[in-house]
Each structure stands twice: as structure tokens, then as C-alpha cells.
Subunit: 230 residues, 2 copies
């Protein structure tokens, strides 16, 4: 069976990595079973075999792959008989833009709004590492980063305009059915849902309804995972 | 032969509509010949048959289609033997996000930076219409809209991060070859190139190199059109 090293918080079943969620959704999309192994930020030695220090890392028999985009590629190439994550080579190329939009626009906003909530949920052994590395990145205490989040969320919702317009025209980024692009965006929302009760979306937003559909996919894989109501 | 009503400026061969450029590139992608008919903002009667007042309007025998996305769909359905603009139904669905990103993020920036340059190039008979309608939209004189463009262009370049990251990974948004998503983004840059010498990109930006490749496609269709050096 496939194994996935999956970021966990203080509790084994609090799995909040947005990149790991991309892959857990992708595996479910393909109908592939996976055993997820809880992993913490400081468990660098556990995944040292992958020659780097971040999850997701997928292990398939005697092979391993790290980096969510590379894992999606690996799954697409290795299990061609399962439903495609991209809908073909053009869809794969086009999906890169969605992934880069999430990384460059959506994730920085989310991080700024929930970083203290992440800190509260990481494993005790990860706390010093998390605070130190993230405070270096922001150049200030985590508590100061989130102080404007009631204003930031307004700008965040405005920045989601391309997503909103698209989901007004069709049920998923992939069209009638979700594709990898949907899982990439969901990863961001699910990351927050797992560790924070901060309300990111207004209930009348088409993105809210899309997120509900995403949370319900695959028997509620994302929606039933430990986290907060949206 | 196909006919396309195409926005022109004071000179018949200054064709600056970003939406028309999407379609001219799409037609060339499909190897379809087209006769473009210069049209001005106030020529509402000329396209009254299309029951609306904006270009592009494509006429194919006794049929007509307006709205660039609908025209792309029409071409894809009507000429299935020609190269696809989307690479399949998934690619079509995924491309909506690119189009909405251009409309919601890229175009408002561009408009704010070059609206006075547009005004300078519109046909004399369009000038009053253009100034009045655009000043109503902005709530101030056109000359005041562009006053901060040296600052705006810095924010614009930052907002292009998802595009830049994607074009670092692959030559076109469509992958190894351009697709409709590329033509949508090019439309924005070409709109400005046709009416303004304002420098939107730094030469060392991967987006700059991509734009060069786009301008050279189809024998320099976009690059040789009347406009300014980039």
C-alpha cells in the first residue's frame, strides 16, 4: 500500500499541511488507498531518505517522491488507468497557473491570518522550531503578524476574484468535476480549517458553496477531518 | 471567409482591443483566415444585428457570435479538425481561471496605466464617448487616473507573480505550445503595446521573454501590428 508522510499537530489526527491535502485529495480522486504516517516539522531524520526535509513524501514500494507537484505527476504516470488529475497534458500545463496563484496570492494571505493558530496546534516538540523559523520569515513576533487579520480578510476576499468569477460559471475549476487545480485551492482552505475557527468566507460567496462541495467529496475526506467548522 | 469586427483607432490599422486580439490569435492558432473590419466604439448600428454593442463580433456565413469566450467556444465546436485552443474539455474549464485572472487583476491595472494613451489614439468621433464613459467609471478625469503609473507599474509587476512563476517552469501557459490562455494574457499586453510606449515589464522578466515569443507567433501577427516597441 502507498504511504504518505503527513504533517500532524499535537494530536496525531490533526493533519493540517495544505500540500499534504493536495495529495490526499489526489489519491482519493484516483481511488488509491494510502496509509498516512503522522510526521512533525522536526522529524527531519524520519524522511532523511528523501534527501530533503519537507512533507508530503509518498512512498510506493521501493520508490519515494517528494514535492506535491512531483507526486501528482508520479501518480498520473504510474496509475494511468485511474481518473486523471489534469485531463491531459494541456490540463497539466494549465494547472500550474492555479498552483502558482495559490502559492503567490492565496497562501501568503492565509499564513498572515492564521499563523498564531498554527502555532497553537503544532506538536510541543515543534513549537520552538515553528516560532523561530516563521518569526525570521516575517521579521516580527507571530502574535504581531495576525493583528490586522480583520482587515486582511477583506483584502483576501477581494484577491479571490478570479476564483469567484470562475466558480460562478462552473461548479469546479476543473469544470463539471474537480481536478487537481481544485485540490490545490482546497488545500489552502483546509489548512486553515484544521487549525483555526477564523471565518475566511461569507456564506453567500460562490467560493463558500464550492468549498462545501469539496469538503464533501470522497465521503467527506476533508470535511470530516479534525478541524473547526467553516 | 470569416469576418471579425475589430476595434480600430484614428488610423484604420491601429487595432487595440484586448478581446479582439484574443480572437485574432485564436483564429491564427486554428489556421483560419479572417477578414477584419475596422470598427469604432460609436459604430453601434454596424453591429446592431448582434443585439449588443461591443466587439469582437465574428461573422461566419449566416451566423454571428459575440463575446470572446463564446467565439472561442464556437470556433472549437465548428472547426474540430483544427488545432484545439484548450486541449480538451478539462483544458477549457481550467482556462476560465486564466481569463478571469486577466479580467479581475491584470486588466484593471493596465487600464489605470494607459487610459490616457488609449484616449489619444481613439478615432476623433469616439473621443467624447470614450472620455465620458471612462471618466464615469473612474469618477475622475482620465489625466488624473494615470498620474501614479510609475508606482502602479511596480504593484502590477508584483501582481504578475503567478504568471512569472508559471513561465519560469514552462515556455507557455499551455505548456510547450501556446493555448487560448496564452492569447488571453497576450491580449492585455498587446492592447497596451498598440497605443502606449509605457514600459510594463523589465527585460529580465521571464514574462518579457514569453511576450516576445507570443509577438513572433504566426509570422509576427501581433508583433508586426501597428503599435509601439515593447
Amino acid at each position: 500500500m502507498l504511504k504518505l508522510y503527513d504533517l500532524a499537530g499535537a494530536e496525531n489526527d490533526r493533519r493540517f499541511s495544505p500540500y499534504c491535502w493536495r495529495i490526499k485529495m489526489a489519491l482519493a480522486h484516483k481511488g488509491l488507498e494510502v496509509e498516512t504516517i503522522p510526521w512533525r516539522f522536526t522529524d527531519k531524520d524520519v524522511i532523511a531518505f528523501s534527501k530533503q526535509g519537507r512533507v508530503p513524501v509518498l512512498v510506493d514500494g521501493d520508490q519515494w517522491v517528494n514535492d506535491s507537484w512531483a507526486i501528482a505527476d508520479y501518480l498520473e504516470a504510474t496509475y494511468p488507468e485511474t481518473p486523471s488529475l489534469f485531463g491531459g497534458p494541456s490540463g497539466r500545463a494549465l494547472s500550474r497557473f492555479h498552483a502558482n496563484w495559490v502559492d503567490a496570492v492565496m497562501s501568503p494571505f492565509l499564513f498572515k491570518m492564521v499563523v498564531v493558530d498554527i502555532f497553537r496546534h503544532v506538536d510541543p516538540k515543534d513549537r520552538d522550531y515553528f516560532r523561530k523559523s516563521r518569526e525570521e520569515r516575517f521579521g516580527k513576533p507571530l502574535e504581531d503578524v495576525v493583528v490586522d487579520r480583520d482587515k486582511d480578510v477583506v483584502a483576501f476576499r477581494e484577491a479571490l476574484a478570479p476564483l469567484r468569477l470562475t466558480l460562478r460559471a462552473q461548479p469546479f475549476l476543473g469544470g463539471e468535476r474537480p481536478l487537481y487545480a481544485d485540490y490545490v485551492v482546497l488545500g489552502g482552505f483546509q489548512w486553515c480549517r484544521c487549525i483555526s475557527d477564523f471565518k475566511l468566507l461569507e456564506p453567500n460567496d460562490p467560493i463558500y458553496a464550492w468549498r462545501q462541495r469539496m469538503l464533501e467529496l470522497f465521503g467527506g475526506l476533508a470535511g470530516k477531518a479534525k478541524g473547526y467548522p467553516v
